[in-house]
Amino acid sequence: MKILIVCGNGLGSSLMLEMAVKDVLKELGSNAEVGHADLFSAKSERADLFLGAREIIDNLDDGSRKVASVKNIMDKAEIKTVLAPHLQ
C-alpha cells in the first residue's frame, strides 16, 4: 500500500505529517509505503491513499482518488483514527 502525504508546497507540513504518519504506522504494525508531494504534483501521482490537512484534501478530492484528511497534522491519535480503516 502506498500513502501519499500532500501539502501546499510539498516541503513543510507534508514532511511533518509524514513523520507523524510513520510513527503511527509503526504503532499499527503496518509496512505501508509513505511519500510526500505538493498539491500540484499530487494530482498526477498514483497512490492508494492521499492524506493531508483538510483544506489541502478539499482541493484534491474530485472523486478520482481515495482521500483522507486530518484536522491537526501533529495529532497522532487523530491520524491513527483516520488511517486505521484504510489499513487492512
Binding site: 510539498g10 514532511l15 513523520m19 498539491l39
Partner: protein, 149 residues
C-alpha cells in the same frame, strides 16, 4: 539542526495582529533582514493561503509560514514570532496561532532535519506547553537545544 537555523535574533514577540497577513509579514522580517528571502517570498505565502486556505496552521496554536523555494528563497532560515493574542487564520479556533515559525528553504531536502525536530517539539506535550509559556528568546532556545534529533 533546528538550533542552527533558528537563532536568538530571529525570535521575536508581539502583542497581536488583527489581520493574519500582517502577522505573516512580521514573522518573515528576520528572514528578510538575514537576506534569506526576497520580499516576493512573503507575497507568495499570503497568496497561497488566500488561494488554498490556512494550511500553514499545522496544529492548534502553530503556523509555519513558508512558500516554495523558487518563490524567492535564497538561504535556509527560520524565525519564530510569538504573539500574546492568537492570530486568526480563519474563524475556526483550531486555526488560531500564537506561534508562527516562518522558514525558507532553497531545495526540498536541506531543511528536513530541522522541520522534523520542530515536529518532535510540537508532538511532545510537555515541551510544547513550555514553548507556549516561554516569553524570552533564551527560554525558547533552551527548549530547542533539548530536542532529540
Amino acid at each position: 539542526m533546528l538550533k542552527d537555523i533558528l537563532t536568538a535574533d530571529s525570535i521575536r514577540f508581539a502583542e497581536g495582529f488583527t489581520d493574519w497577513r500582517d502577522a505573516v509579514r512580521v514573522s518573515c522580517e528576520p528572514l528578510l533582514e538575514l537576506g534569506a528571502i526576497a520580499p516576493a517570498y512573503i507575497d507568495a505565502i499570503i497568496e497561497n493561503v488566500e488561494k488554498i486556505g490556512p494550511y500553514i496552521v499545522i496544529s492548534p496554536d502553530v503556523a509555519i509560514p513558508h512558500a516554495r523555494p523558487e518563490a524567492g528563497a535564497k538561504a535556509i532560515a527560520m524565525s519564530l514570532l510569538k504573539t500574546t493574542t492568537p492570530v486568526k487564520f480563519s474563524d475556526d479556533p483550531d486555526q488560531h496561532a500564537r506561534l508562527l515559525f516562518a522558514f525558507s528553504a532553497t531545495d526540498n531536502h536541506s531543511h528536513q532535519r530541522a522541520l522534523r525536530q520542530l515536529a518532535r517539539l510540537i508532538m511532545d506535550e510537555q515541551r510544547f506547553a513550555e514553548l507556549q509559556a516561554a516569553n524570552t528568546a533564551d527560554a525558547v532556545l533552551a527548549l530547542i537545544a533539548g530536542i532529540p534529533e
